[in-house]
């Protein structure tokens, strides 16, 4: 019989001794009884004399009761030690079974009845677990983009088999290094460590190389130390033809946001030429269909320029492999045959230009086809506001003038009067130079302001929360921020005393400003890869703490830190994120050629060492008997309860 104590033997012994002593003391101590006055104790004495005639039985009952309590204690302590009977040899193995549940494990072999690889891997895992020896302990780990322990080290084979049966493949690439590292950490300090990898062996060369077998060797970072650990490999899966999409993205043109271009990369991972048909959908509407022949191993990049039309922002690329009659046929790996992308939202802005007359400013605004400009003289502004005619404008531009009240839309101010400026003016500067530009602000993207000449300017005094876009030494010249929930940009100088409007930077900065007002971000990423943690910008104010993400795997809550939601991408597809400002969309694709290369490896070489098949475990009948001990204890308790209530033992 072997034991697996949850604590050190000495601790168990001390605990058991203390509990036994407490039990005995409880029996030795005189029970404090409730007092009750009777009129004539002689009658009770007569009854008790009759009963006490069997006082030896009374004493014996007390001893039996103590013995029962001590037996119960022994049973409980015994059960806690998890005793096992049978041929449980002392030198059992500690096994970590890593089951590959990456995207490539969704691949199926040829034929209708072919099982996905993940099912084959689960069969193999169950086989390995059922073959464990009596003293062997095993831990089950699921490997995809993460390494997830599905059990602790235990010898309960049915429990392990149940855990193995619950494994499912995800849409993420396999992270072998992470799984090996987790297994090595779990096995550290355990006797006869063994790792069994069950998968298709399609892991990146760099991951397979980042393994060290040498004991005591200096190990570089990102290298898994497997010294002293026996690592075995069980290959699953059969070869299959696969052509897939390995990249798909889309972006709007900066100058014309009504149009966009898409990029698709397809690759043939098989050993034979593959005729394929690539269809591009905008929503449910096919906007392009291409048929092509992909040579073995050929990767082809396709760019679709000047796409437009359709209101649906979701694009889908569908790749079909064709047979000789150009009819679609089943692909071994369906996951990479579909890819999604989302277009950044398209917005056309109406701009109200309030100026006495400024041809340069008007021309710069007219350069952008995404905006419509209406001009208004400053003296007519108050009337228009009073008539409620300015409700449809999304941006106001004030040139050398500013209204007394803040407008109900974002606004750009050029040299506003000091008493009406949203940013306080703290002084006047003569011939200032722009010495410092905020490079991180969206307004300054692709803009150089270093040699702009300015005749005279107001030194601005930004309020807390305002961002200084440009300054002359210490004096802010351009400030951006928010007032009453509306964004603004204030230029401390007028356009009639500078050569800024003659530069390329001017219209670009205007476009940047209008994009910033509209919430557009040309660098916004809307397409992500699975198997990674996504940092999705959701809240520029950084006040949000959590968002709801609805995706192919269901609805989850994602935490938000520093204005970005963090989410581990487990499934490919289209996601929507609900924020207080609206709903954001993003698309996720496998986009991993390594995973799409589904050809299984019959052998796995890690750090230059070829992995062998798992050893046969020493079969033995070993059975945990703690359940029996607990049942016996419960039965004893039940008997004692019954006899007590029947007043047999009192």
């Amino acid at each position: 019989m072997t034991f697996t104590p949850p604590l050190a033997w000495s601790t168990v012994a001390v605990l058991a001794g203390a509990l036994a002593a407490l039990t005995v003391v409880a029996y030795i101590l005189k029970m404090r009884r409730r007092r009750h006055e009777v009129p004539f104790s002689k009658l009770w004495q007569r009854v008790l004399d009759e009963k006490d005639s069997s006082s030896w039985w009374k004493r014996l009952k007390r001893l039996i009761s103590l013995a029962v309590q001590l037996t119960l204690l022994t049973l409980i302590v015994g059960a806690a030690l998890d005793p096992k009977i049978g041929n449980a040899e002392a030198g059992g193995k500690n096994v970590v079974v890593i089951v590959d549940a990456s995207a490539s494990m969704k691949a199926k072999g040829e034929g209708e009845d072919a099982k996905p690889r993940i099912e084959l891997a689960k069969d193999e895992a169950r086989k390995v677990l059922r073959g464990l020896g009596g003293a062997d302990l095993a831990m089950l780990v699921r490997m995809d983009g993460q390494a997830t322990a599905l059990s602790r080290f235990e010898g309960d084979v049915p429990q392990l088999v149940r855990a193995a049966s619950g494994i499912f493949a995800t849409d993420t690439p396999a992270d072998l290094s992470r799984a090996l590292q987790a297994a090595a950490d779990a096995l550290r300090g355990r006797r006869e460590p063994l790792i069994v990898i069950i998968g298709d062996g399609a892991y990146g060369d760099d991951m397979r190389a980042r393994v060290s077998w040498e004991a005591g060797a200096k190990i570089p970072m990102n290298t898994v130390d497997l010294a002293g650990i026996d690592v075995r490999f069980v290959p699953v899966g059969e070869d299959g033809r696969n052509a897939g999409i390995v990249a798909f993205n889309v972006r709007r043109y900066l100058a014309n946001k009504l149009s966009y271009e898409a990029l698709v990369e397809v690759e043939n991972f098989g050993k034979e030429p593959e005729p394929v048909r690539l269809t591009l959908f905008a929503g449910e509407e096919a906007i392009d269909v291409k048929t092509m022949n992909l040579a073995p191993g050929e990767r082809r990049r396709l760019i679709y320029p000047d796409l437009g039309g359709g209101d649906d922002r979701a694009l889908r690329a569908q790749l079909e492999t064709l047979d000789a009659s150009e009819k679609p046929r089943a692909d071994a790996f369906a996951l990479d045959d579909t890819a999604w992308a989302l277009l950044p939202e398209r917005k056309k802005q109406r701009v109200l230009l309030v100026t006495p007359d400024n041809l340069y400013l008007e021309a710069a605004l007219l350069l952008d086809p995404n905006i419509a400009v209406d001009k208004l003289r400053p003296e007519a502004y108050a009337t228009e506001v009073a008539d409620g005619k300015l409700g449809g404008y999304s941006v106001a531009v004030f040139d050398g003038w500013a209204p007394t009240a803040l407008p109900a839309m974002p606004a750009i101010y050029f040299n506003p009067p000091a008493d009406r400026s949203p940013v306080a003016v703290r002084g006047q500067l003569t011939r200032p130079f722009i010495t410092e530009v905020n490079p991180d602000h969206p307004l300054t993207r692709w803009v150089a302001l270093a040699d702009v000449n300015i005749d005279k300017a107001s030194a601005l005094a930004p309020a807390e929360g305002d961002a200084v876009i440009a300054r002359s030494i210490r004096d802010p010249l351009i400030v951006a921020g928010k007032r009453e929930g509306k964004k603004f940009v204030v230029y401390g100088f007028g356009l009639d005393g500078t050569d800024l409007m003659l530069r390329v930077a001017f219209p670009v900065m205007l476009v940047n400003t209008l994009d910033w007002f509209a919430g557009d971000d040309a660098e916004l990423i809307t397409t992500y890869r699975t198997g990674r943690v996504w940092n999705i910008p959701v809240d520029p104010d950084e006040a949000l703490r959590e968002v709801e993400v609805r995706g192919p795997g269901g609805t989850v809550k994602a935490p938000v830190a520093n204005g970005r939601a963090r989410l581990y991408g487990q499934h490919a597809g289209v996601y929507s994120i609900t924020t207080p400002d609206g709903v954001l969309g993003l698309a996720a694709n496998l986009a991993d050629p390594q995973e799409s290369a589904i050809a299984p490896r019959g052998e796995l070489i890690l750090g230059g060492k070829k992995l062998e098949a798992p050893p046969s475990f020493t079969p033995s009948v070993s059975r945990s008997i703690w359940v029996i001990l607990v049942c016996v204890g419960l039965a004893m308790l039940a008997v004692e309860w019954w006899t007590y209530n029947r007043r047999v033992t009192v």
């Binding site: 009884r33 409730r34 007092r35 009750h36 104790s41 009658l43 009854v47 009192v650």
Partner: protein
């Protein structure tokens, strides 16, 4: 079962007008039951110089030969002496158990019940112009109400009973020995007690008999004494001796106790019956007037 604190104020309520009306009713009933008897004509069983023949006994030297029954001598040639019942006023002694155990009782303490019973019997005795006296006892005698006669003395009875102090261990033997030593005038001795005497009741009652008193036994108990609602592990403490006993009450033990209580009461009953001592047993759940009527109907108290 709770031992109630004895307070004189509580006892005052025992003898209110309602109680007095009940006594009067009982007296009328007693008169109806024994119509024709004249007052103060109840006789003791003392054999002496009366006129009503009682018995014969052998002549011994020194006897008054005027009482020799010559007719018997003529027929049987034996000298037998004729005995006559001595006529004198009946003395009724009410011996009231005032030990600690008499304070027991949930609805009412046994002592209160006994007091009402004693008061009722006293009233009947007083009304019949008997010489009625009350002697409380426990391990000894605790004072006495001097013999009195006439209904008008009933208030003295009430006052006396109200002032009786309860306490002490029941000791019938010692108490009744003391009683016969102090009372030379023979008469009826009504012993109202629970008879929970660790030394036994036999010695005390025999003492009365040996001294030519006429014992009249009334045993009182509380219903919960006969059927105690107990369970579990308890320390039973004798309310008189303070002696503790640790017991675990089971249904079987309770059953044995009930049997034992019944057996004890039967022992007392058998003892009295065997010796022609009138015996009545009741519990405090029975109305006292009902008990008094039962005593009347059974005879023995009313002559």
């Amino acid at each position: 079962m709770a031992i109630l604190a004895e307070k004189a104020a509580d006892r005052r309520k025992l003898f209110d007008d309602e109680f007095l009306k009940k006594l009067e009713y009982l007296y009328l009933v007693s008169k109806k039951l024994f119509a024709g008897h004249i007052r103060a004509e109840r006789r003791t069983r003392k054999v002496g110089s009366g006129i009503e023949f009682a018995d014969h006994r052998g002549y011994t030297t020194g006897d008054d030969f005027r009482y020799i029954d010559w007719n018997i001598y003529g027929r049987m040639d034996k000298l037998l002496l004729r005995l006559f019942e001595e006529e004198e006023d009946l003395s009724i002694y009410m011996l009231l158990d005032a030990s600690t155990s008499m304070r027991i009782g949930d609805a009412q303490p046994k002592l209160h019940y006994a007091m009402k019973l004693v008061a009722a019997l006293c009233y009947i005795g007083l009304a019949n112009l008997d010489r009625v006296s009350i002697v409380p006892f426990s391990d000894g005698l605790h004072g006495r109400l001097p013999p009195a006669r006439g209904k008008g003395r009933i208030f003295k009875v009430f006052d006396f009973l109200t002032g009786v102090e309860a306490g002490g261990v029941t000791h019938l033997g010692a108490s009744l020995t003391r009683f016969v030593q102090e009372n030379k005038r023979r008469g009826m001795v009504v012993v109202v007690s629970d008879f929970y005497d660790p030394e036994g009741f036999e010695a005390g009652l025999n003492t009365l008999r040996y001294h030519k008193f006429e014992p009249f036994v009334i045993q009182l108990y509380d219903p919960k004494e006969a059927n105690p609602p107990l369970a579990g592990d308890l320390t039973l403490v004798d309310c008189e001796t303070g002696e503790p006993k640790e017991v675990t009450i089971s249904a079987a033990l309770l059953e044995r106790y009930k049997r034992e209580h019944e057996r004890y009461c039967e022992e007392l009953s058998t003892f009295c019956t065997a010796r022609s001592i009138p015996f009545f047993r009741t519990h405090t759940g029975v109305p006292f007037d009902e008990l008094v009527l039962r005593i009347f109907r059974a005879g023995g108290f009313l002559k």
